[in-house]
């Protein structure tokens, strides 16, 4: 199918263009921001000589266009240089914390979407009843509550008062695991994960719940549902087999995009629960003018967002034959 192929080719070339623009903007933004990565080292013993050594080490003694050329050529090879801050390769800085972020946000996302889809469908089915009168404000309130506030409440109640869950980190002090997978599979990790994941899920569930409810309501008005009712199918079957399946489409898109957002980590949750994730690393990198780490992290977010958008587009055409990418 030539049309589908040309669709893919044009999307891919657009993607490359967008990524180049993003990379260039990232390069410029951090360098045009006021401030200077050297100020992190200002100290009474900070001499002009040390300053020169640092500049050379960071490659900041080169003119801007040379820095840009180096940056682009590294980028093509998938390299981001070394962190100004820890002096480690950037990929290492990010890989050390990215898995923790993914575990936290994916578990929260899955939980939020599972609850949201079922809850949204129920809310739609119970339209006009007390369930709706109480359910929607409850969903909106938890969605609108500031995460740090909910997080602190959760800590105060479940950690400091009831002592059910630990208050910080991803593992207990001094615990060691042979591999990262062994750590993730451990009971200790799960206990540490519970509070931050639940707090995040509580915040994330608003979107899928309300989206599911409104699309369900729309679908329920469509002719094929009326037709199902005319065929005398039980309401339950209509709701689950016919309406819910069709209403899931936008929720799937939202989920795919949600993964994109989750890569950036959740700074607030990670800070409140001292979760060792990418969000905190990213904020720190921006504040300390750690250009290589900040550039790489934002670039990664951009890549994932673009890819997930693309995946969502493809999913649409697979799940719903009415959507087509072929040119009319």
């Amino acid at each position: 199918m030539p049309t589908r192929f040309s669709f893919l080719a044009s999307r891919l070339s657009q993607t490359v263009l967008v990524l180049w623009v993003v990379a260039t903007l990232l390069f410029l933004i951090f360098r045009l921001m006021p401030g200077n990565p050297l100020v992190a080292y200002i100290d009474p013993n900070f001499t002009a000589e040390v300053q020169q050594a640092l500049l050379r080490q960071f490659g900041l003694d080169q003119p801007l266009h040379v820095q840009y050329a180096v940056f682009l050529s590294n980028l093509v090879r998938g390299e981001f240089g070394r962190s100004f801050f820890s002096r480690e390769p950037v990929s290492q800085v990010m890989w050390q914390v990215l898995p923790n972020t993914l575990v936290l946000t994916l578990s929260a996302l899955l939980l939020a979407y599972a609850v949201g889809v079922v809850g949204g469908a129920l809310l739609a089915a119970r339209r006009g009843t007390w369930a709706e009168a109480w359910g929607i404000p409850a969903v909106l309130a938890t969605r609108a509550a500031p995460e740090f506030w909910v997080g602190m409440l959760a800590l105060a109640v479940f950690s400091f008062t009831l002592n059910w869950f630990p208050s910080s980190g991803a593992t207990s002090p001094g615990s060691a695991y042979s591999t990262w997978w062994a750590q993730v599979a451990s009971w200790d990790f799960l206990r540490h994960l519970t509070l931050p994941a639940l707090t995040l899920a509580l915040y994330l569930q608003g979107l899928p719940t309300l989206l599911m409810r409104s699309t369900m309501l729309e679908v329920m008005d469509e002719d094929f549902i009326t037709f199902c009712r005319m065929r005398g199918l039980p309401e339950r079957t209509i709701l689950l087999r016919h309406a819910a399946r069709n209403a899931l489409l936008p929720v799937v898109t939202a989920f795919a995009l949600g993964i994109g957002y989750s890569i950036g980590g959740n700074v607030i949750i990670e800070t409140v629960f001292s979760w060792p994730g990418l969000g905190r690393t990213l904020v720190r990198a921006v504040a300390a003018k750690d250009y290589p780490v900040a550039q790489a992290a934002f670039f990664l977010i951009a890549v994932v967002m673009i890819v997930m958008n693309f995946v969502a587009d493809l999913l649409y055409s697979l799940l719903d034959p009415r959507v087509s990418h072929e040119r009319q």
Partner: protein, 556 residues
């Protein structure tokens, strides 16, 4: 007659009008421009921001217009450091560190003219008498003579007012006294409870033998040749030994060196303690020590270079005796070099540095998988952004009483406090919150002990002496007299601070000069100082320069 009277009247009117116009023109020219006071944001440092907000209206009582401008630290430091002609005044702080127990760092680097162009004398203070004293105190190895010089230096600075010293804040630390025997928790002068001596000596009372403490910042590197964050330095101090260590009294004492003897004013014999071993089993030899001090002389270890610059040569006199020869007499050498440079294993670092010499990177980029030193704690693991774990080195001559030392990275202050209460932490080593809350917690919870101590670190306001009106001593004195330090102490620090008049903290009893001239808060006296120096006020109450003085700004 009437015509004459009219003429006179007209002439008088015209004359007064023109004179008035001239006067207005002059006063406009002589008005002191709007002055900008820089501070970090409230969210980052609430105390600094509040101090600036308290100081500005007091300064305005002198007839000045003062605007508080908030900048993130990176931007503020960049501006003050690299645009030395452009700023007016800024809030600033020096934090307390063990090696700052020697007054040299502040005495020399902050105010000596040689650091005015590119170094830490960013205020641009130049005084040749002061330079002489700052240089002399470095040379005089006689403690009493040196003390007199440090006293004199404090007096000159108090008289010349390049800074308005505000307060020495107290630092508060807390620990669980059911886990750690209070008798074994050491208070270091001007540093507080969080120090090497506590980490080494803290004795467990029960089954919990792990020293679990918090920090807010992530650990950047565990590298004996890289001065990275302040948290990182707690770890390097424990893994690597030094020839001397700054003791709880603030004075250097023998550590890996058994004995240190001045042969003459530039020659020093150091006797190495016998029987020390690195964590990988290799003995610590005189060659390792010599290597540790020669490595920073090359180009691969830039941050330690300033600490070995004064060394001319190092010789091995025997297996345990090492002779340091200095280029010039240098009194702070014991504290600023021997108690600063980490002793590193030559067999590990020599090939690493040789390899790095061929690459663009230097020693700061090299992170050992398992850092090896000879210190009282050994490296166990480092989970990035989460924790660093060390374990006691039982073979060390000062083996720790704790089993392990676990540093948890907790950016949330309230969570750290809750963790101390429910036992997840047993030592609160970083607390940025309200000290009153901590004291309340200690009152409610008998198992928690809180100790607040005066810091070596200080808070101050710095003037840019390159720019008018700060080039005039009278203005600096008047501004100092308009600073209500007592209000800052009680309002901003809730009493957890000491009013400052000098750059040497009263915590350093030996070096602090309590007799420096003090400029107490008195707005009327401040205005008198200005009036006496020829300053005037216009009809709006704005301050005017003395007649003949023109405001010229270099940086504009």
């Amino acid at each position: 007659m009437i015509r004459i009277l009219v003429r006179i009247a007209v002439a008088v009117v015209v004359l007064t009008l023109t004179a008035g116009a001239v006067a207005v023109g002059q006063t406009q020219d002589r008005r002191v421009r709007e002055l900008i006071l820089l501070t970090r944001p409230q969210a980052v440092d609430p105390q600094e921001f509040e101090m600036a907000r308290l100081l500005a209206p007091e300064f305005e009582k002198l007839g000045l217009k003062v605007t508080v401008r908030v900048m993130p630290w990176e931007q503020l430091a960049d501006y003050v450091w690299y645009s030395r002609d452009k700023w007016d005044m800024t809030m600033w702080q020096m934090v307390g560190r063990a090696e700052r127990s020697d007054p040299d760092e502040f005495t020399f680097n902050l105010f000596h003219a040689s650091t005015a162009e590119k170094g830490y004398n960013f205020v641009g203070y130049v005084n040749s008498t002061y330079n002489g004293i700052a240089e002399a105190q470095r040379i005089k190895t006689d403690l009493k003579v040196r003390r007199q010089l440090i006293f004199e230096a404090q007096k000159i600075i108090a008289r010349d007012v390049p800074y308005v010293f505000l307060v020495f804040p107290q630092s508060s630390y807390a620990y669980n006294n059911t886990v750690w025997d209070p008798k074994s928790v050491v208070e270091q002068k001007g540093i507080g409870l969080k120090n090497f001596w506590t980490f080494d000596a803290a004795t467990p009372r029960g089954t919990q033998k792990d020293f679990v403490l918090n920090t807010a910042d992530p650990v950047q590197a565990i590298n004996p040749l890289f001065i990275s964050g302040s948290t990182d330095s707690w770890i390097t101090e424990l893994i690597w030994d030094r020839l001397l260590r700054v003791g709880p009294d603030g004075l250097p004492r023998p550590w890996a060196a058994e004995k240190v003897e001045w042969v003459d004013s530039v020659t020093l014999d150091v006797t190495l303690r016998r029987g020390m071993k690195f964590h990988d089993g290799h003995p610590v030899t005189a060659d390792d020590v010599i290597f540790s001090f020669t490595a920073p002389m090359g180009d691969e270890v830039p941050m330690y270079k300033p600490f070995v610059r004064v060394i001319d040569k190092i010789e091995k006199r025997s297996d345990t005796v090492i002779r340091f020869t200095l280029k010039d007499p240098y009194a702070p050498f014991l504290t600023s070099s021997l108690a600063k440079v980490n002793i590193i294993p030559k067999h590990i670092w020599e090939p690493v540095l040789a390899d790095l010499a061929k690459k663009p990177e230097n020693a700061e980029s090299y992170q050992e998988q398992v850092p090896v030193g000879s210190g009282p704690y050994k490296f166990v693991q480092w989970k990035k952004a989460e924790e660093v774990v060390l374990e006691a080195n039982p073979d060390h001559f000062a083996a720790p009483k704790a089993r392990r030392w676990v540093l948890r990275i907790i950016p949330n202050v309230e969570a750290a406090l809750g963790g101390l209460r429910n036992g997840e932490l047993n030592f609160l080593s970083v607390y940025g919150g309200d000290p009153q809350i901590l004291d309340q917690l200690a009152k409610q919870t008998p198992s928690i002990t809180v100790v607040s101590t005066m810091d070596i670190g200080m808070r101050f306001l710095a003037f840019n002496l390159r720019r008018p009106p700060y080039d005039d001593l009278a203005v600096r004195q008047a501004l100092n007299m308009a600073a209500n330090k007592k209000a800052i102490r009680s309002v901003v620090f809730k009493g957890y601070a000491t009013v400052a008049d000098s750059f040497v903290s009263p915590a350093l009893e030996y070096w602090h000069n309590a007799e420096v001239p003090k400029l107490n808060y008195n707005i009327k006296a401040a205005r008198d100082v200005l009036a006496k120096a020829g300053y005037e006020w216009d009809a709006d109450g704005r301050l005017l320069y003395p007649k003949g003085k023109v405001e010229t700004l270099v940086g504009k």
